[in-house]
């Protein structure tokens, strides 16, 4: 069990291109961190730097406070699950799992090896397959063997490099919950690379969003969703993604293609001085005006629009409204789409409607929009003008407490008795939710990480 600290990590390749640029993250003991971003954002490189398969150009990597920049992978005591499993095809499942134990010569007797492998195999339900070769296993089984190889040794942390991307959707969901439960049970610090939103949101205690080698924001999934720091994070997190509408601010009113939207004076004040802003609206902020309860109606604005088509999914339905933005806004939206790995963004608005709604494509319809949770973005810098940092930090803090509790529950301890080990790994100061923090604030740590650290300590005993 260990904490991992990344201090201003930089990775430059031969051509001087920074694949990873000045990334600082404090990973507390027992924490589950997700690195997410579009392809080419440097998330896998960062993971490989942590495990030691990639040299660190600049910055410090600390495991449990000790600098490990120059240590070989085998000296770092980390376990890694590779995207394509990397099983040894000439060895049986048993020997594959036992491989790390056999390498640590003299540390384990034959009985100990047998005991550890059998334990790991039963945890992963591989007992029946121990004598088979990897070639004869299904994708899910191979994946579990790869996990078995990681959990069989007492590694300080688990690193996952898109471990589920080769599985089919159903198996992926199943393995996802297994990984989540296993991580809580073992209380092991974990770093998990993925490009899958669902994995990022469901598994992570905190999620680090990367773009072109730079850390955009690291926060709990809820904070990312509700208080994104910029256009990129707002657009990347959430599916279907956030809609961005160009608007001009006049007093407390936003003039948009959908019509006038009333916003609070505080929000309007934050956008003061900007000629044009981008309004970020999540699809679920919309509703069929006919189905909105009267008590809620006052919190939003109603407008009429014609949907091009709707998609009924059973529990809800999506409607699509196309609009024609000004050329410079279109350019901006296209750039954003490119950043997010998507094809050219069609200037359309996705609205989520109640499944009972009778609105259909091609007809004029009244749609209500909840304006309370709107965000306003600066179209030039992409910065979120209306982000409430304190509310965001509170969400992340909440997630931290939940984690401590979950680990304690999974291990059969109450969270209270972990208080004595508060010396803990510095992490999550309230402002660590703010994107790349300065190196100096590392010691501004608060209870959040330390409590969790305590929760993790118990596994060692």
């Amino acid at each position: 069990m260990a904490s991992i600290t990344l201090n201003n990590l930089v990775k430059k390749y031969g051509d001087g291109f920074p694949a990873v640029n000045d990334i600082s993250i404090d990973i507390a003991d027992g924490e589950f961190i997700i690195l997410v971003g579009p392809s080419g954002c440097g998330k896998s490189t960062l993971l490989r730097m942590i495990v030691g398969l990639e040299d660190i150009t600049d910055g410090d990597l600390l495991i449990d406070g000790k600098r490990v920049n120059d240590k070989a992978p085998r000296e770092r005591n980390l376990a890694m699950v590779f995207q394509n499993y990397a099983l040894y095809p000439h060895l049986t499942v048993y020997e594959n799992i036992a491989f790390p134990l056999r390498l640590a010569k003299g540390k384990h007797s034959e009985e100990q090896v047998d005991k550890l492998v059998t334990e790991a195999a039963s945890t992963l339900e591989l007992t029946d397959h121990l004598q088979r070769k990897p070639a004869n296993l299904s994708g899910g089984q191979r994946q579990r063997v790869a996990m078995g190889r990681a959990i069989v040794r007492q590694a300080d942390a688990f690193l996952f490099d898109e471990p589920l991307s080769n599985l089919d959707a159903k198996l992926r969901g199943q393995m996802r919950s297994e990984i989540s439960q296993m991580q809580r049970r073992l209380g092991v610090t974990s770093v998990y690379v993925t490009h899958d939103q669902t994995e990022a949101m469901t598994l992570g205690d905190r999620v680090a969003v990367l773009k072109k080698g730079e850390l955009q924001q690291i926060a709990s999934p809820r904070e990312l969703y509700e208080q994104p720091i910029n256009l990129f994070v707002a657009g990347f997190i959430g599916s279907p993604s956030m809609n961005f509408l160009p608007a001009t601010v006049e007093g407390n009113t936003l003039k948009t293609v959908l019509g006038d939207l009333a916003i609070t004076p505080e929000k309007a004040a934050k956008a003061a001085g900007k000629r044009v802003v981008l309004v970020g609206v999540r699809p679920e902020f919309f509703e069929d005006a006919k189905l909105v309860e009267d008590s809620k109606r006052g919190h939003g604005s109603t407008f009429t629009a014609s949907l091009t088509h709707t998609e009924w999914l059973g529990n809800e339905q999506y409607g699509y409204i196309t609009f024609d933005p000004a050329p410079e806004v279109r350019e901006l939206l296209n750039n954003l789409a490119r950043d997010m790995d998507a094809d050219e963004l069609r200037p359309q608005i996705v609205v989520t409607l109640d499944a009972a709604s009778r609105i259909r494509g091609g007809r004029e319809a009244e749609i209500w929009l909840d304006t309370r949770k709107l965000h306003l973005f600066d179209p030039e810098t992409g910065e979120n003008l209306t982000r409430d940092a304190a509310a965001g930090a509170a969400l992340t803090e909440e997630a931290n407490e939940e984690r401590a509790e979950e680990i304690a529950n999974a291990q059969g301890h109450s969270p209270q008795d972990s208080d004595r080990s508060r010396q803990g790994s510095a992490s999550e100061s309230p402002d660590s939710a703010e994107a790349p923090r300065s190196a100096g604030s590392a010691d501004a740590g608060s209870a959040g990480g330390a409590t969790a650290a305590g929760g993790g300590k118990h596994t060692a005993g």
């Binding site: 890694m80 499993y85 095809p89 491989f99 070769k133």
Partner: protein
């Protein structure tokens, strides 16, 4: 559908039989000739005339008067080819591994040079080599043949093995390193077992090349000290100067084919590829 597949089968059978006849006819012809008596050689028939089939040709080269010439040549061929193969495979394994895995300056140069060496006509370097070897005392020695054989076997070994190493997922080695292996352990425990079929295949190819060489064999040797079989065959003589040594040469040719056939049969199982399946998502 059924019609089609039956047609296909027949077609393939016919093609296979044709290719087999084309490839094996000379071998069978030599085999038949090796059992002919000297007087029967010019009979114009494919098989020895009935009643005259004889093993005298084999006796001649194995226990008879051509024994010295042939047996020492066989010994030379086996020894020189095995040593050349062994050195080539060891060097090529290390070289190919470096080429497949590492990024170092001059990597392209090595591959290009290897290719250039292998397409360089043997006959054009044999004369300078003959002079050089005589000067430095390597003429008519085993080493004097092993070195030129390495120049023939190394390039092809490097190319085959590099291609083979590239197929082995790099993650395996990285996984081993993360699991606690040193670089050498990762190579030995994760890569070598997977590379074994490739190494065997390469070894057999290299052995064939060394075994079949004629130009170096005849130019760089003068006595039984180092002369290999292909060169020795040229020195066979008949019982008298009016008698062609065709029978003895045929018998020797059959005998030198046997080790090759044995090798292939022996390592057939190792040569099967596809051993890497299951390492990564297939």
């Amino acid at each position: 559908m059924t019609d089609n597949s039956t047609k296909n089968k027949v077609l393939w059978t016919v093609v296979t039989v044709l290719v087999l006849i084309y490839a094996l006819f000379p071998v069978v012809s030599i085999l038949a000739t090796s059992f002919k008596s000297p007087s029967d050689l010019t009979s114009g028939k494919f098989l020895p005339s009935s009643g005259t089939a004889t093993t005298s040709n084999y006796e001649q080269i194995l226990v008879g008067n051509a024994q010295d010439l042939f047996l020492s040549a066989l010994r030379n061929s086996i020894g020189i080819s095995l040593i050349a193969t062994f050195i080539a495979v060891v060097l090529a394994t290390l070289c190919a591994y470096a080429i497949a895995r590492l990024d170092f300056p001059g990597k392209k140069l090595i591959l290009t040079t290897a290719l250039a060496v292998s397409i360089f006509p043997v006959i054009s370097i044999v004369t300078p080599l003959f002079n050089l070897w005589r000067t430095i005392g390597l003429y008519d020695t085993w080493l004097g043949l092993i070195i030129p054989y390495l120049s023939l076997t190394l390039p092809i070994s490097i190319w085959t093995l590099a291609a083979f190493f590239r197929q082995i997922p790099w993650e395996l080695e990285q996984a081993a390193q993360v699991d606690g292996a040193t670089t050498w352990q990762a190579f030995r425990k994760a890569i070598v077992p997977l590379a074994a079929p490739g190494v065997f295949t390469t070894a057999i190819i290299a052995f064939f090349i060394a075994w079949n060489d004629f130009v170096y064999g005849i130019s760089l040797t003068s006595t039984e000290a180092a002369r290999p079989v292909p060169a020795a065959l040229a020195f066979f003589t008949g019982a008298s100067q009016f008698e062609a040594p065709t029978g003895a040469i045929s018998a020797a040719a059959i005998i030198v084919t046997i080790p090759i056939v044995l090798l292939v049969l022996l390592f057939q199982r190792q040569i099967v590829s596809g051993l890497t399946s299951g390492a990564v998502k297939g």
